[in-house]
Symmetry: C2
Subunit: 332 residues, 2 copies
Amino acid sequence: MKLAILGATGAVGLDIINCLKELDVQFSELRLLASPRSAGKKIETPYGAKEVEAVDEKSFDGCTWAFFAAGADRSKRYLPHAITAGCRVIDCSSAFRYDKDVPLIISEINASRAIGAKLIANPNCTTAIASVVLWPLHQVFKLKKIIISTYQASSGAGTTAMTELINGTTDYLQNKKPTNEIFSHPLPFNLIPRIDVLQENGYTKEEMKVVWELRKIFDDDSMGISCTCVRVPVLRSHSESITIETEKEIDTDRTRSILSKAVGVDLIDEPHNDKYPMPLTSSEKFNVEVGRIRQSLIFGKFGIDFFISGDQILKGSALNAVQILKYVLGEE
Amino acid sequence: MKLAILGATGAVGLDIINCLKELDVQFSELRLLASPRSAGKKIETPYGAKEVEAVDEKSFDGCTWAFFAAGADRSKRYLPHAITAGCRVIDCSSAFRYDKDVPLIISEINASRAIGAKLIANPNCTTAIASVVLWPLHQVFKLKKIIISTYQASSGAGTTAMTELINGTTDYLQNKKPTNEIFSHPLPFNLIPRIDVLQENGYTKEEMKVVWELRKIFDDDSMGISCTCVRVPVLRSHSESITIETEKEIDTDRTRSILSKAVGVDLIDEPHNDKYPMPLTSSEKFNVEVGRIRQSLIFGKFGIDFFISGDQILKGSALNAVQILKYVLGEE
């Protein structure tokens, strides 16, 4: 099997390479593709130093599978060439997520829908992290309402956004004004309550992605979902404060019991011992942390509040993409 | 009128002095009281350099009013001495907030209840900031449910907590492990989803304060309130993501119109121009910023989502305390 990664030098691309190794995916060739300005660059991988090639229309010829991790525009541009070459694609961008015929997959939830698909969409990171915790609860208690406020790391906007936060913080501590190019305002010691473009309804696209994608992944349009997305001065791992209302009675003991056995989830819920989900502990970890589980003060027996933290580059993107490939390879 | 400030060297105490000047409160003497280890220290104030005195049981003799801003334990210890001396107290701690006979006051909401009171309680900072935005909406639309997730600055834990964040961030950027004494975990580039002690129901005291205090200030026990409190690596200003369900129909235009005229509130709601509430803009400002106002995707015509940011040392504590005094002096 010949594999290609488009956007191999980005945060997600690099972690796709790491996850291929961690999940022991076997292949005969790995093509690392990026824009011409990265061509010739050598990057360190678990498979040794590898040279990056400039992507072109022929890059996918002879490939069996490609990961697209270079943003929606490039996904749209190169998809026809990959498909024509007979190369199947797992796309980490939002380009095709809402196409009816494109399966939107979380490996723990609906991986079987990926079987046979030529194009598979990987969900938005905020959605992905929430979904692995919400899904096992949805199956038992059926979710009616989901209210989410996010705490999103700078790396969600790419590797250069992480650098902007680090450099800006250094400037701030030296009494210099932090500069900002990627973010609309300086992020050091600040919060930015807008991620992605505004929609007509006043929500951002990042917020609506969570609504659209959770419904599609869970195959349930009846769930009421609301989301507020906020960028925080954290380098890696998105966190989310979540309130749910359920159709069936729910309690904290059963919630903990279900989540302690859920695949892809780490129950970290001993707040009296200062153990709860945090970016500090969830970063570079495969599983999503969940804790601070409390009976809802609003929905009573039909609601739960909790807090999650998960590496949005791993389960939020690269890991899930590789898990999808691993599943399909095993099933087909 | 002779004034005293207990805890004059703390973050809140220092801002009480500034607010007295800003609000032009007239007094004949200002006693700056603190623990013995701060005694003799000179601090710069808008009234010139002033010496700090060690607090003792006689410190309030001859005083008309005192601000208590040294934590609940010291409030409990010194209240009897102030009252015996005939000195009225505005207490910024949580010591007496839940006593039935003690008025809990936000100057814009229920200041008249402070008239004649010997002891007046100043609300928790997270509550105070939310209340100035929620109150004008409550009066028109009647709030049924309030769901809050907070983004709380390090200074909420005092001046030394700000220093811990700054020093820890410096260490982090120099590849040293940040140390933590005030916070349970290092806060630089991290989040800590626990503030204050745990209650039996799994909520923290900080979270329950919002529930207890909003109900008391609004004099309405029927409101369903839920809160998740999270410490973020921000130096100053607390922010909150808030979802409300109302009894009467609510829309974004009327919400904006009401909040644009509300006392103590700055409507900053042009997200397409990247104008929204942020710690960067709300810090050291008297008014609380509100924006990102959207019709609820869950409660439809009976709900609104929004985001607020306010200086938790000013409206969240010092400013409100001085506003209470100013009001009472004008009315009695």
